[in-house]
Symmetry: C2
Subunit: 330 residues, 2 copies
């Protein structure tokens, strides 16, 4: 446990000199190649490693092996609890598998996403995890080049590729069931204006199911904004101005529901008695401070494991498997 002074952090050469063997031998022992050295040598080298406090230099290793232990995760907006939960669980899973995660916040902007992709490539990262990616030129190149990528939540723009996410159509349908089985018949839905496939699928699942159950009209409103919070606020305002308050309102994300809630409160509309709100995401905070919100629960904190499994599969050459994660009603 003795630590070397600051000067220069022990290298293979340091260890080799201390143990009186060659660099090659130390390297092999560090990498667990035990059959190439006698037990006695191994012991001596291990001791030398401990005494000089040797830690392998990843730059050298990366250079030689032409691959690193770095995995890049590109996500829009880390302040969104959904992204934070995915990032946290992925980080843990990667760590357990011996990798290190680099986190990049793309702010949902194609240009920033491209900039990051290029920066990551020159870091020689070993794989990419694209959470809710947006189509962009460099991403397209990467996919075409067969770069090891796992897509999360939003499917790859190019169609095929490894994917981890939920069945959004079914989630939308389940939300519809929640409202319907509560006896509510006049229902609406709130979405972002330029929705991704995620929100489109949730919307579709919801509307289709409601119609299948016998609803003739589903009130819809959409809005644009910097965050889903603002979108929810704005959209519900439009919807109610046009059609009045419905009995039930599906929000394609919890954050949108929060926005709708604020408007309801400011309008003295009491939730959930006057209008039942259903969200999708199942933010853990709900049970603490938003008990009025029913939500389709998604276990984002369990995404990490399958994401890393898929990445591993991609590395092995297994092109485009996918994992559809379960969701539940809460």
């Amino acid at each position: 446990m003795t630590r070397k002074q600051r000067s220069t952090p022990a290298s293979l050469a340091t260890v080799a000199a201390a143990a009186g063997v060659s660099i090659a031998t130390v390297s092999r022992i560090v990498n667990g190649e035990t059959r190439r050295a006698s037990a006695e040598t191994i012991a001596r080298v291990r001791k030398a490693i401990a005494v000089v406090g040797y830690q392998p230099n990843h730059a050298g290793r990366t250079l030689r092996r032409r691959e690193s232990r770095l995995v890049a995760m590109l996500a829009p907006n880390l302040e969104n609890p959904v992204m934070a939960a995915i990032a946290a669980s992925t980080e843990a899973a990667l760590r357990a598998a011996g990798y290190v995660m680099i986190l990049c916040d793309t702010h949902d902007r194609p240009d920033l996403q491209d900039e990051y992709l290029n920066a990551m490539r020159s870091q020689v990262v070993r794989g990419y995890i694209m959470v809710a990616s947006v189509p962009s030129p460099v991403l397209k190149d990467f996919v075409a080049d067969g770069a090891p990528i796992v897509f999360v939540n939003r499917r790859p723009p190019s169609g095929r590729g490894a994917f981890v996410g939920i069945d959004n159509i079914k989630a939308g349908a389940d939300a519809a069931d929640m409202l319907w089985s509560a006896g509510l018949r006049r229902c609406g839905v709130l979405t972002p204006a330029q929705g991704s496939s995620v929100t489109r699928d949730r919307l579709k699942g919801f509307c289709d199911r409601l119609r299948a159950l016998g609803t003739e009209d589903v009130y819809k409103a959409e809005a644009t904004g910097r965050s889903h919070l603002e979108i929810g606020y704005e959209a519900v305002q439009r919807l109610t101005a046009r059609d009045g308050w419905p009995e039930g309102l599906m929000c394609v994300s919890d954050q949108i529901a929060y926005g709708a809630y604020r408007f309801a409160r400011e309008s003295d509309v009491v939730i959930p008695e006057r209008c039942m709100l259903v969200g999708i995401d199942g933010n853990p905070l709900n049970r603490w401070i938003a008990p009025w919100l029913r939500s389709i629960e998604i276990m984002y904190e369990e995404f990490g494991q399958p994401i890393v499994e898929l990445l591993d599969q991609v590395w092995r050459g297994g092109g485009n498997a996918e994992r559809i994660m379960p969701h539940s009603v809460a």
Copy 2:
């Protein structure tokens, strides 16, 4: 914009061959050393760079320069919105300065923190950002070795070192003022049991101010738990069981306030009429779904800039400056 095929990603040698110059010349041009080449050569090399799609390999560069553009951020619990906000803003600030952030979730555990520190050292990271760090052996070694570290929120265990955070004593005092100026006299405070210096200072600032204003008794309760949410729930339960509901309750973090709120709701105590809750953090979500919570607002999304500035200062050898960030009442 032409992209090379997957084979091997263009190196300096590729560019040199394409431009008909030596590797050294290309390297110099890439690094902006324009005085060592004629304008004509520079143009030819730049063109070659573009045509082969050259991106510098950071492993080689790191190896040679003995320093990388990687900065490690170690934080407990990424799912805490406070950490997420700090991480997001730091990531942006680092990015703007040309660095790349590696994010590690220590779960507040000394052993994991040490493991990460070692792992980061062998990645040859250039600096460390310790958010709410916990004392640990390796951290102590790093500090002793003079590693470039910026501490955020919690001060360095060893006393001196660069620090970014708020004046917690004053924040506590401000919370006391909020309750007092609302005319509330029977006040309490909720804290985690094994608090850090952060919660201790907030507690101290609160109690001292309240006493200075003339309160003779401040009701206190603490609890342990996996999260501040649970701590708040548990602590308020203890406090009210012992002393009944006070008129005002200070919670050393917003999350604790959320926990307290849940218990109040379950006990049919209406917040804030029957008991005013004051938190510290100013979670942006408050104005959307927790309007009953008053809070000391901290602009965590502005921590990134000073953190990077301090890191820069540390690199330049400027030992242990600190930035006390402002907070406001909301």
